[in-house]
């Protein structure tokens, strides 16, 4: 069943059909409608991108918003209590420091104590970091409370010492035993 392709085209009746007169106008009209459809598709395409971005932003916001809420809520009892202790201690330390500053005149002593308290606070911050990682660990907890207590005792001690030095009874005569 071999065919010559030229014969096939000669036989094809459709080729003999004539084009309508308004063919050009119809074609242009169809072409115009086609381009407007494409524009519509492009518009929807951008709308989709915008909506997906918006959706991502919303999801991110809700995810982080809710998880940070959960984190806030999931603070352990020990952490909540420690925050109260810390606030209480730091207020007292601050109070004692202010009354120490009122009676202290030795600048070298003040400088030395500032340095000591700074060192102690640096150590405390390291412990806080540890406590965040292990919120129920009694070793860290004990070290935290001990650090605050030591700072408080330290200032109270030097304050009492200065008060004792400043008492009224003075002398410059050697005592012989």
């Amino acid at each position: 069943m071999e065919h010559n392709i030229r014969d096939l085209f000669v036989k094809n009746e459709e080729n003999k059909k004539e084009l309508p007169k308004n063919h050009r106008e119809e074609f242009l009209e169809k072409l115009n409608t086609q381009t407007s459809k494409k524009k519509k598709i492009r518009f929807f395409f951008f709308l989709k991108i915008a909506s997906s971005i918006l959706f991502t932003i919303c999801c991110t916001y809700f995810y982080f918003g809710t998880t940070s809420d959960v984190q806030k809520k999931s603070k352990t009892q020990a952490q909540i209590q420690m925050e109260i202790f810390e606030k209480e201690y730091l207020t007292n330390i601050d109070k004692e420091w202010n009354s120490f500053m009122k009676i202290a005149t030795d600048t070298v002593l003040i400088k030395r104590y500032k340095k000591k308290l700074k060192e102690s606070d640096l150590n405390y911050q390291k412990l806080v970091k540890n406590f965040k990682e292990h919120p129920n660990n009694s070793n860290v907890l004990e070290s935290l409370i001990q650090n605050l207590q030591q700072r408080l005792e330290l200032i109270k001690g030097i304050e009492a010492h200065i008060k004792e030095l400043n008492q009224k009874n003075t002398s410059n005569e050697t005592i012989y035993l």
């Binding site: 150590n123 070793n139 030097i158 030095l165 400043n166 410059n172 035993l177």
Partner: protein, 376 residues
Amino acid sequence: MKPFIYSILLFFIGTISFSQTKEVILKKHFKVDKNTVLNLDLDNVAIVFEESLDDKIHFDYGITFIRYPKRKREDLLDDINVKTSQKGNTITLDVKNSMYVGINSNYLYSMDSLKSAIMYYGKTYRKRAYDYKTKEILLNEIVRSVGNDLEDFLFKNKSKYENQAFINTKKKDLKSFIIRVPKYTCIKIKALHSNLTFKYDIEKSIVVNAFQGDLKFKKLVSKDIKFVLMNGFFQAEEIKAGAYSLKDVHPTKIGSISNAKLETETSSIEIGEIGENVQFNDFNSKLYFYDFGKNFTKFDLKGDYSKLTLYKVKNSHYNLNVYGFNTTLNMNEVKTTFGISKEKEMTKILEKKVKLNEVSSGKVEIELTNAILTIK
């Protein structure tokens, strides 16, 4: 019937294995000789040192878990990092545990109990009066002590603050790390938040650098002893030599001391008996010197903002000179401040000479600035 019995057995085995499990962390030994140096780099660990009699250093580290869920056990074991190595004559032990692992506690307090106990301790126990103690009483305190002042207080007041319901539910881990060392071994220690207890006398060189460390010794005899300790506690039954730098050490308890140099800062220090050739430099510590030895020859102390208490001075057999600037003397329940001069010169506050027919046991020279001296 058989499956029923098996299930009961299985239940019991499961319960027992859950309630108590023992893990071996390190069990190793090294052959050593007189040139061996033991190098220790320690974080968050409690170690007991014992004498080894077989020319070997033995490391033996294990944990017994009580009421510890498997996952928690694994978490804790993950945070333990122990490594040993040998290079020539140096044997090194590295323990880099996280704070989560911690060191053994001698008590089990709930958070509320812990806070109220610490607060009570801060208000009362720490301010307790330091009455005269003999060397023997102080030695007894050292031997019985479980830790620093606070730990001792918490341990002694267990019945008051511990809550049985809390203890019954609390998981527990009992750690045991024993190193057996021949007496002739030199030791170098770098320790952070670690408790070190020596159960033998140190006769060879030991160098210790510790932060937040609890250190307990029997006799420290060697001349090559050097200690730098910050924030912790230090107890020794007898010091016969060495240089010691102690900062924020509460308490320092020493049965007797001789041929030693001390640099101290904001610590509380109790010494049972001061022997020959002791030099002391202090800033703002509380010093309690209960007695001086029979032939201590000379004792020198320089103190700035120190609070010094001397006992039984009137009945003593030594010569004493106290010089001071802006220093308060507290004697016979009378407080007097001495040496307040614009020139900031030292003035002689106190002098005591031995009686003519007495043999002097030594001379005490004290220089105090902004200090408080109590004579009891």
